[in-house]
Amino acid sequence: MLHVTARIKLLKTEEGGRTSCVRSGYRPNIRFGDLYTDGALTFLDHQQVYPGDKCEVRVTFANPDYIRAYLRVGACFDITEGPRKVGEGVILSIPENQEQNKMASS
């Protein structure tokens, strides 16, 4: 698993976003380019986030190798629920020790 911190924004409902808030632990699809993966969002300063809100999150990737090529600070991603884009985000930091541990184990 790999944890990164990111800043996200959920689209407003009228922009095609969700109709309701999401809770910390939300598991949307994360899309980098054409690749979709599963990610778990832990909100760092909220318990729940509403459509239109911005916040910082910890994103946990259980299968980071699938999107490894995209994992760098500044990389942008979409938050989707299947085909529907419900938000977007940008990676703020990737703790180095995780990357070192990952490389050491691979």
Partner: protein, 147 residues
């Protein structure tokens, strides 16, 4: 880490092998998405809490969770997500449910690739129709995850 479904199956009665099922029955239950037939089968790995909710109310979004519900096209792919995504994140037992519904509805679902596996999305506005048409049952065996 005990992360494969064989380990998980010890904790959930719904995943223990049913000795009444023969090999041919298993093969039928493990059928991939049916094209050109009457019914389509899809699969989803769920927690105990979601399984209980599904059996009572059908498939529906939980509060603060995804409004779109995602399924795999084979039990083996559902096992892949259980083993590689869901269990590592939650460390909780999982059950694979099989959902069977008419092909006419399947043609309206969006399919895409997530983590290398074909995934079908049932959007919120289709869920009531989906539940009305679908037969849902937990699998009584634990498939080996797709690699």
């Amino acid at each position: 880490m005990p992360c494969c479904l064989r380990d998980i199956s010890r904790w959930v009665s719904g995943l223990t092998c049913d000795p009444k099922l023969g090999v041919s029955d298993l093969a039928l239950q493990r059928g991939k998405i049916t094209l050109g037939g009457e019914f389509t089968r899809l699969y989803r790995a769920v927690s105990d809490a979601e399984l209980e909710d599904i059996l009572r109310f059908g498939i529906r979004p939980g509060a603060g969770t995804m409004e779109t519900k995602l399924f795999t096209t084979s039990a083996e792919d559902a096992a892949f997500f259980a083993q590689n995504i869901l269990f590592p994140l939650d460390q909780k037992p999982l059950t694979i449910v099989e959902v069977e519904f008419p092909d006419s509805l399947a043609s309206r679902l969006f399919h895409f690739t997530t983590d290398g596996k074909t995934t079908m999305a049932v959007e919120r506005n289709l869920l009531s129709e989906f539940n009305a048409a679908a037969g849902i049952q937990p699998l009584h065996f634990a498939p080996m995850p797709a690699s």
